[in-house]
Structures are given as C-alpha cells and as structure tokens.
Subunit: 319 residues, 2 copies
C-alpha cells in the first residue's frame, strides 16, 4: 500500500478556485487554478469543479489519491468548521452549503476539514511563511474586506461555532462608518482596501491640486489603495494625510489584537500589505508605545506576510 | 504517604487576600480572608501573609500540605503567567514582582501557577459556576475597571506573553474617553462601574429633577453604579437614558467578543452585574440581532456569573 504523505489544499475564492498539494515538509509540490465564475451558479457545480481540479493535479504530479492524508478547504464567508458547512458566503449567494459532505462523494473515506479563508492564511504563514516557528500569531488581511486569523499556542483559533475570529468585525468607532455586515464602526469599514480607496477619493475630491487626480487619470472612479501611497511618495500632502490616517485606523485595530493575544508576530496580508515598509514601518511606530502595559510588555512586531496567494492553499492543506 | 487531592487558591485583591482550598470536585472546603492593606507595603510582606494564611487554613481544615497538589494565585494587573511574575499592578505599586519564586520559599516543591484575576474568575465559573460544562466561555467583570477572561475549547486563554486577554482595553470608540491605561476610547472607559458612575453623575447634573439626586442624598459625590438602575425603576427618564446608553456600550463590547470567540455563554461578573435581569435582559435584546452573521450564527446568551467573590479563588486553585 502506498505511504500516505501528501495533503491537498483547496482555496475557494470569489475569482479563482485554487488547488495544491503539499508534502510532509509543507512544500507546495504543484497547484492549479480555474475561474470560480459565474458567481451564483449552483454550488454542486463549484464542488464538482474542485474535485475535478484535485484529480487533475494529482494526475499531473503522478500522485495517487491513496497517498494523500487529507483534504482541507478554505472558503470565504461564515464557515461552520465543525459541520463542514459554509453558513453564508455573500459573494456566492450561498447559505448553508454542505461543502464537505458533497466533496466527500468524490473522495470517500478521505479526512476533510473546512475553514474560513483568512484562518487558512494564518495557518499557511505559520507552517511555511512569515510566522514559521511562532506559536502565537495574528494575521490581518487587507483586501475588499478585513479578514483575521489567529494561532494560539500553535493551534488555529476558529471560535466555538460558525462566524468566529471575525477580526474585521470588531469595533473601531462606535456609531462610525456603516460596515458591509450591517454594524456601524467595524475595523473593516476603516481599514479594508475598499475603505482606503473611499478615504483617498474623498480626500482628492477636497483638493483639486492633489497628485492623486493625475494618478487616477483624471477620473477618481479609478482610485485604488495603491494611489494614495504613490502620491504620498511624490510629496503630496493630501495623500500623506490619507496614509497617516489609514495607518492610525489599522494601528488601533492591531493594538486591540495585541492586548488580547499578545502574539509573537502580527502579520499583514492582502493587497494593501504589498505597500511594504512605507506602510509597515510607521505602523510599528504607532503600535509599539500604545499597546497595554507600554514598555513593560512585549509588543509584537507587525510584519508583511510572505506567502501571498499560496498562504490560503498551504494553510488549507494544513488544517 | 497522604493522597494528593486538594488544591489551594489565593486571590490577591486590592482590599483582601483570600485563600481557599478545593477538593477534586471543585468544592470550596474552606476559605480565609485578611486585609491586603496598607497598599504599597513591601511585596515580601504580602507574600509572607499569603503563605501564613494558607498554613492557617490548612490547619483549620486539618489538611497536610503534602495532601495538596498545587497552589494557584490570581493577581490584579499585568501578569507574566509563564515566569510567575506580576509585571505591573498599579494598585500595589508593584513592578516585576517574582511572586511565585517568593511563595515557593514557603512551599518548596509545590507546583504553582499565577494568572490575572479575571482569568481566574472565568476558570472558576467554568469549573464550578455559571459556565460549568461549557467549553467556550467569555467572562467580563464590571468593577472599578473592566476585566476579561476567556476559555477556548476548555483551555484558559492567557496570551502569548504578559498582558493578554485585556478585553477592557479593546476599543469602543476611536478618540473617545481617556482610559486609565492611557489610550483613548477603551471599553473600560465606557463600561466599568466607575464609567457608569461618571455617566450617571453627568446626567444628574443636567437634570435637577432626576430621582438620582435624592438617591445620592443630595450630593452627587455619592453617586455609584446602582443608583441609575434604582432611579430608572422609579420611572426617572434621565436615569433610564443612562442605563440604556450603558447597556449599548457594554453590548457593543460583547458583540466584539462574540464575533471573535463565538462562545457558548458570555458571563458578566463584578459589581454592576448584580443588577441582574434589568441589566441582562435588555443586554441580550441588544446583542442578539447585532452579532456577525445575524440569525445565521449562534449568538451566546449573556448570563450573570454565579460564584461571586469565590470565582477567583476557585479559579486560582484550578489553574
């Protein structure tokens, strides 16, 4: 009988379904990607695509399914990790989709796990990326929304039931900006890439001389999370204020998580994190003196995640 | 040789040093209490008092120290649970007090643990109180400050280093009220008994007809966290607004913790929690529809802790 040594990860995203296989050393041996779209199609078809992609990749890698220990799936939205059900994924218009039960039809007897995608990402970074070797880690992903993943004493934290570790849906400001979740003032409403884009657009509207106009090609509808950083580097004061304010929002959220978990590291992932040092350095300067206990306690450095899009795949395979 | 079956808990507070002994069924067999004061005296003397109290209680209960498995100590302030050191306790003017090392001089070879007092309280409630049998629990203590304790999958959460699980020092409102920790807008600055007292006093100052004046004996310096609830029950609208606003502050904090941990129960302890249903019922009504995922997710009921002052003692003995 073949020795079981490989693990399969599936990263379900709004744009792509990615599958990958990792070995016992958490090395990604190969991966495949296909479009998830059209969004809103029958979930059975999406799961059938996942299964087909897995079989395709195993064939390419010349690995038999019997050599695989398990399959892990990362999904966006609210996930019931215990039941293996996607409770709710707005992008897909999914409610209570029994994803693992369906996938098991294609891979009978295979151990399977399901988790939220940001939870997978922190696990990936912990086994093979920026947090390798750390036992206490917080990851914040800055994309369309703000996702969160936490590892405590080497164990992925998922909450006692569906919808836990929603770090983006903790409060930054009572009665503040309306969040996609319906609550006012969530961190996500201030620190996501979408929020940054909105903040930059509003600032540019108030300053017709801002370099952001040219960087948008004269149309503020082209604003994104990169432009204010770029304009700030060109010396644009309005853009610099946008960046400074954004760093403050994100920093205050990070201080909350340090006061809770006292991790060894705080990782930043997602699109905005690609700004690197112009984001990370002032963020550390903001966070360090403001965490509870000040200089008496250890304050985790904020660092950039390193695995990029592979984090979710490697993490899913490591569930 | 005597069978080891008893555990010793020490609850160090600003007012009292309490010691207790529990049996294998987490029953409190006996306890003693003495004044901690004067605050600011040499910490060696405080630890000597703890040791003397333990010996005194064991003698009273006719239990030999050899029959005890371990000693657990709950301390206010910032605690390094790994090193057994009180990093900082403002009340006592303590910094880096090696409490366990000192206590070990009196009880050589005895296994010992140190934790923050709110962490002990949640553990006590989980082994013998309102959260008995639950594996995922959040406790919030509403006293002079706001303390927090969390149990995940049956394990006490303490953070990766000193100063974790400071739920009172997570943000309610960016740029809000100044907190004792130096940060602006912490939950503690809105939801502690001291904050409630301040809110009630300000409201009474603005309404000379409020029933709160009489309940303070005409002197708003006598305001406390009980009076607004009492006045609201008498039909005083100003007091009712104070209560409603306080419930909203506390509710928003609780929603944050549900969105993170998805516990089975949220417990309220500390002075303010003694209000019972007039606090707890509207709090549940506020929290239930506002947690992330709304009706799709399980939302923990908020309930009153049941062990009162014994929670910390039983929890310390259970560390």
């Amino acid at each position: 009988m073949a020795e079981k040594q490989y693990r399969i990860g599936i990263d379900l995203g709004g744009t792509n379904i990615k599958v990958g296989v990792i070995d016992a050393d958490n090395r990604l041996l190969g991966k495949l990607s296909m479009k998830t779209r059209p969004l809103g199609r029958d979930w059975h078809l999406v799961v059938a695509d996942m299964a087909a992609q897995v079989n395709h990749l195993l064939e390419e890698l010349d690995i038999a399914v019997e050599e695989c220990i398990k399959i892990g799936v990362g999904s966006p939205g609210m996930v019931d990790h215990i039941a293996g059900v996607v409770t709710y994924a707005g992008n897909f218009e999914w409610e209570y989709v029994p994803l693992l039960a369906e996938l098991r039809c294609s891979f009978p007897h295979m151990p399977m796990r399901l988790a939220n995608d940001a939870n997978c990402a922190v696990l990936g970074e912990a086994v093979a990326g920026a947090a390798k070797g750390a036992r206490h880690v917080v990851l914040i992903t800055l994309g369309t929304g703000v996702g969160g993943g936490v590892i405590v004493d080497g164990r992925l934290q998922e909450g006692g039931s569906a919808g836990g570790m929603e770090l983006g849906h903790t409060l930054l400001k009572l009665d503040g900006e309306l969040c996609t979740c319906g609550r006012h003032g969530c961190l996500e409403a201030y620190a996501s890439a979408s929020a940054l884009t909105r903040q930059a657009r509003a600032a540019a509207e108030g300053d017709k001389h801002s370099a952001m106009h040219a960087l948008c090609g004269g149309n503020l509808g082209n604003m994104n999370g990169i432009i204010p950083f770029k304009a700030a580097r060109q010396g644009d004061q309005t853009a610099q204020r946008v960046v400074d304010t954004y760093i403050r929002y994100l920093g205050e959220g990070i201080i909350n998580f340090i006061n809770i978990w006292r991790p060894e590291k705080v990782l930043l992932g997602g699109g905005v994190s690609n700004e690197g040092p112009p984001l990370i350095d002032p963020l550390n300067d903001y966070v360090r003196p403001r965490a509870f206990g000040g200089e008496r306690g250890y304050v985790a450095p904020v660092v950039q995640a390193t695995l990029g899009n592979d984090a979710g795949l490697i993490g899913a395979a490591s569930l």
